[in-house]
């Protein structure tokens, strides 16, 4: 396959996606994933364009709707590695309901959310994770709603793996991507804080760099309350690393129809 567009991603100069894309490629190589068994699923948004710029099977669907097809792909062929690349608007806004229920199911997909706290594709409106008070062309008096906390929601709902990293700390990001890809379990959330130099003038690369701080080594990720404390920490310090792990069996391991192997391989016709 020719990587037709890999030379010219349609992102603004300085976009955090320019560091996320090569980091993902490096992580895929480091884990030794067979790209022909890798499916990248995305919705719509700047982050959701990423699958076009790398080599893999691709299901680029509708805005907010990455998780339902990803869930079904994993159920039909659980030997595929299904990675969702999404943004804060796509995953936490338009797709919020699917986010809740995919975690409840604990489907074994890897969900990488590029969280730049703003809408990029539609030019600078507030996202569900925008800081209160942020002024935009729509939120002219500043954002009035409280930000959505994806990590806390994922922990409370019993996601299998919950982590956060940042596009400006590439080594850490790669470490987290590798850990997420290696995680053999259910729903895996990696929230990736990411600057948007075009539309988010508050949460800049510098802003993130000054605040993100790796989680202490003595944190026990199986301790839900400790994980929630970290998830609720935001402001002068933003913890990055693996917040939470849960041994709950993945959704795809519970279906009688899959005991004989992947559903797709049972089809004779």
């Amino acid at each position: 396959m020719r990587a037709l567009h890999s030379e010219s991603p349609a992102w603004c100069p300085g976009c955090g996606n320019f560091s996320i894309l090569p980091t993902l490629d490096e992580a895929i190589e480091e884990v030794g994933l067979d790209r022909r068994r890798l499916v990248l699923v995305s919705g719509i948004g700047q982050a959701a364009k990423l699958p076009h710029y790398t080599r893999a099977n691709v299901f680029n669907g509708l805005h907010g709707r990455a998780l339902p097809p990803a869930t079904a792909i994993k159920l039909v062929n659980h030997e595929l590695e299904v990675v969702v690349t999404s943004g804060d608007g796509d995953m936490y806004g338009e797709g919020g309901n699917h986010f809740i229920h995919a975690i409840r199911r604990n489907i074994g997909v890897k969900c990488f959310v590029h969280n730049n706290q703003v809408y990029g594709l539609t030019k600078g409106q507030a996202s569900p994770t925008s800081d209160p008070g942020m002024e935009t062309p729509i939120q002219t008096h500043g954002v009035m709603a409280q930000p959505f906390n994806p990590l806390a929601v994922a922990i409370v709902e019993g996601a299998s793996f919950v982590a956060r990293s940042c596009a400006v700390t590439r080594d850490h990001l790669k470490e987290m991507m590798v850990a997420a890809l290696k995680h053999d379990g259910g729903f895996t959330l990696l929230d990736i804080l990411q600057p948007c130099p075009s539309f988010n003038k508050r949460n800049t690369a510098k802003w993130y760099k000054e605040r993100v701080k790796p989680i202490a080594d003595d944190h026990d990720p199986t301790d839900m309350h400790a994980a929630l404390d970290l998830a609720m920490t935001w402001g002068d310090q933003i913890p990055i690393g693996i917040l939470y792990r849960n041994e709950r069996p993945p959704f795809e391991s519970l279906w009688p129809a899959l005991e004989k192997g992947p559903l797709v391989e049972q089809y004779s016709g």
């Binding site: 080599r55 079904a72 030997e79 279906w255």
Partner: protein, 555 residues
Amino acid sequence: MDLNIRIAGEAGQGIKTTGHLLVDVFASMGLWVFSTQSYMSRIRGGLNWQDVRVADYRITSSRDQADLLVALTEEALETLRAEVAEDGLILYDGDEAQDAVAINFTKTAKDEGGSAIMANSVAGGAIFTILGYDIKPLIGYLDEAFHAKGVEVVKTNAALVRRGAELASDLQGRLPAPQPSDAPPQVYDGTEATALSAAVSGVKFIAAYPMTPSTGVFTWLAKNMEKYGIIAEQAEDEIAAINMICGATYAGVPAIVTTSGGGLALMSEGLSLAGMHELPAVVMLGQRPGPATGLPTRTAQGDLLFALRTGHGEFPRALFAPGSPRQCLELMRRALETAHKFQTPVIYMMDQYLADLRLNEEERDETPRPIDRQIVTDAGGDYRRYEITDSGVSPRAIPSGDAFVVLDSDEHDEEGHITENLEIAQAMMDKRMRKIDGMIAEALPPEAYRDDEGAGTLLICWGSTYLPCREAVDILRMNGHNASMLHFGQIWPLNRDAVREAIGSRERVISVEGNAWGQFACVLREQGLIGEVELLTRYDGLPFTAEEIVARVEG
């Protein structure tokens, strides 16, 4: 001759169970049966009834009047009394009632050592006696049905049937009933036929959000998951459901969603996605009256134009609308085959009436015969998912082979990658549109019924109006009219030449439809296949009966 039994009461009183019991036993005796249910949208409470019509000839419609009303509540007695035939009879489950025979089924069941649930055995015994039928087949049926529950249950049920017969002994043979003939003993309904067809045709994945009257198909597939190796997942909403089956078909298995009109509205964008991705998504649409929540438990054919148009942009689709359980078996398979052959979404339309009606059908083949998914297994490194072809159909590979399979909801190039190149965009639209030519070439022609003489009066119908229209044609011809019927099981795309020829030149053309606008007539007119036609419509939530169609045609 034929006879109509109406069992009415509150939800939760086992009306459906009693109705099914009668239908199954009558069919096992070689009688022709036809049953429909009517109920209010309540889990418990509210007036519900089940009509069981029994005959010594093939019947395909319900009747307005009941010959025997079995009223389980006072409300049922008073509400439905007026719809009892002049020489009919009312049986009331209570101690006394005016102009009705009172037999307390529930009290009798309890007094004789049974439970309230066994009241239908008492009622069965009484009904059989009133119709002059031997109670042995009834006892035999219950024997088999409750065998697993133990000897005591079987014995009690048999005793209760006998007790019911005894209580009605004064009325032995009071209502002359049809004698058994050569009717097939199997009884099917539209729901079961649809679900079974999906399972044997190879559907491996169903995602749905429950919505009356489509839930039965979803439930049947969930119940038979292990037998057929199916995953049945209850989605968080209809948007998730349609997007899930897009994912499931991409990954390589036939998949369907079940829904009703409101759910289809939520699926609109996902349907368009299946059109753009060129995925064989099949939507089973159970219609009920709208707009909005409408009449949730009633029937309608009001979503034809919606099903034909829903989804933004232009993309090919096919619409099928079976008219009987037999056609459900055939057309669900056809829907899946069409979707896979042309890699495009297909909507299979039913309604509450067809979902619930039960009648005798010839024995069906339940052996799995998975459809050909029409996928390529030898795609290599140079594979292009959207290769431009003459037919518009590109080779479809699934992920996990040697080829990368790339789908984009944006307009894309042959490899599936996003493009802003307008020449490519035009070529892709043209490629998708070319698939319609192939679909038209394979479109099912309408089925003509008793159309041997031409001219005369032609009843045009589609979907579930098939059975009542068929019977209406029989009655009209008995009454001396040159009437015939043209039924459309495939309503889109149409093979215009075939349709034009089938309609021919008539004295009267009447479109019989369960909606207010005559939506199928609109489609035929838009296609230049008919001019002004008479509309015979009904949109009060109830199905047509043959009697009603005849009366309105004879005007």
